[in-house]
Symmetry: C2
Subunit: 210 residues, 2 copies
């Protein structure tokens, strides 16, 4: 299957060459993010798309000084909602009614159920839930980048509070949780590029209940 070929081609690039990614390719990667499924369709995150060199350079020192942060073409920062609020939940339910052009009693009951469960829940619990949804989108971005022949470096190793400060995320009710530098591998200077992928065996990965 072509997807498997692409996933075998991809790896977490440790050095990038600064080449810019075309708008068409970026648009496709963002479309994959947008299409990713999320719990109750809430899409409880935003994605910061950074091409500004100064901002990338500011983030690099709080991301273990990894060169791909400043040498990438586009730096994507996935920032999850800090909590679920009634406004945020209602936004998506109202949008759904608008797009579908009708109201549905079951859907409205489901809205009330989510409002009842999510809004009073501790912010940290809501954030963890929202962050998992951001990871679904993050993962589809990685697959989409591979499809475009674009390198990507999945990256959790950064000071999330510092990145939130640099990007002004707190005021937007967002907290960064994972980032994805996108660009093109600098094969000559990347120690990882020629090393084999390591994965545990299917015996260790799977529990079969036949």
């Amino acid at each position: 299957m072509e997807l498997i070929e692409k996933l075998n081609w991809r790896y977490a690039a440790k050095a990038m060459n600064g080449e810019k990614i075309s708008q068409e390719k970026i648009d496709n990667i963002i479309e994959a993010i947008s299409l990713a499924p999320t719990s109750s369709g809430l899409q409880p995150f935003e994605v910061v798309v950074i091409t500004n060199q100064e901002v990338k350079d500011k983030i690099r020192p709080v991301a273990w000084n990894q060169s791909v942060v400043s040498d990438c073409s586009h730096l994507l920062v996935f920032a999850a909602w800090d909590t679920y609020t009634a406004d945020r939940i209602n936004f998506m339910f109202d949008l759904t009614n608008e797009v579908r052009g009708f109201k549905n009693e079951g859907w409205e009951n489901y809205r009330q159920q989510l409002l009842g469960v999510y809004v009073p829940r501790p912010a940290q619990e809501n954030f963890e839930h929202a962050a998992r949804q951001a990871y679904i989108a993050f993962s589809q971005a990685i697959a989409a980048a591979a499809f475009e022949g674009v390198d990507a470096t999945p990256m959790e190793g950064f000071d999330t509070a510092a990145v939130d400060e640099i990007l002004g995320l707190e005021a937007k009710g967002l907290k960064s949780c994972v980032m994805l530098p996108l660009g093109y591998r600098d094969a000559e200077n990347d120690w990882l590029v020629n090393l084999p992928k390591v994965r545990k065996s299917k015996e260790d990965l799977l529990i079969k209940v036949d």
Copy 2:
């Protein structure tokens, strides 16, 4: 891009027809799970692959009685490590040395760093981190299923403790976090199949820093 077409085709099937998925298609979906990137390459989860009808029927009532749980062909349950332990971390570092056929000082230092940070950390914090990695694999399974023309229903709505009990996961140091019934849509009986996808606008999804 073909991936975008596939992601547009997919939706969270609400009714499945019981048709069995071929072994080749399942193998490809599992391969995508295996190839998904994870933090430090730890793959801190296992995937329960359930075809046994009795077990599916037992899970259905603790999963909001959703029909796809019993009517699917294969039910995948993603179960994250309950915590990081020295053994679990060492397993992956040792495997890497074995696959690559050499030891590297930087890699060994990184091993010590992870052991120092992860092992003493509260189990809940480690589980949340492991669960996010499981979501990366879960997301690539969704994309792979779409590639195979297989329907999938991303599902968080279940009693994780009850599923852990049914599958005996606690004894394995695992906790279920998300499931994915796989099969074929029963288009005539699925209220969702013909409704348009709802996604927030790119303006609401993205923060551009040019």
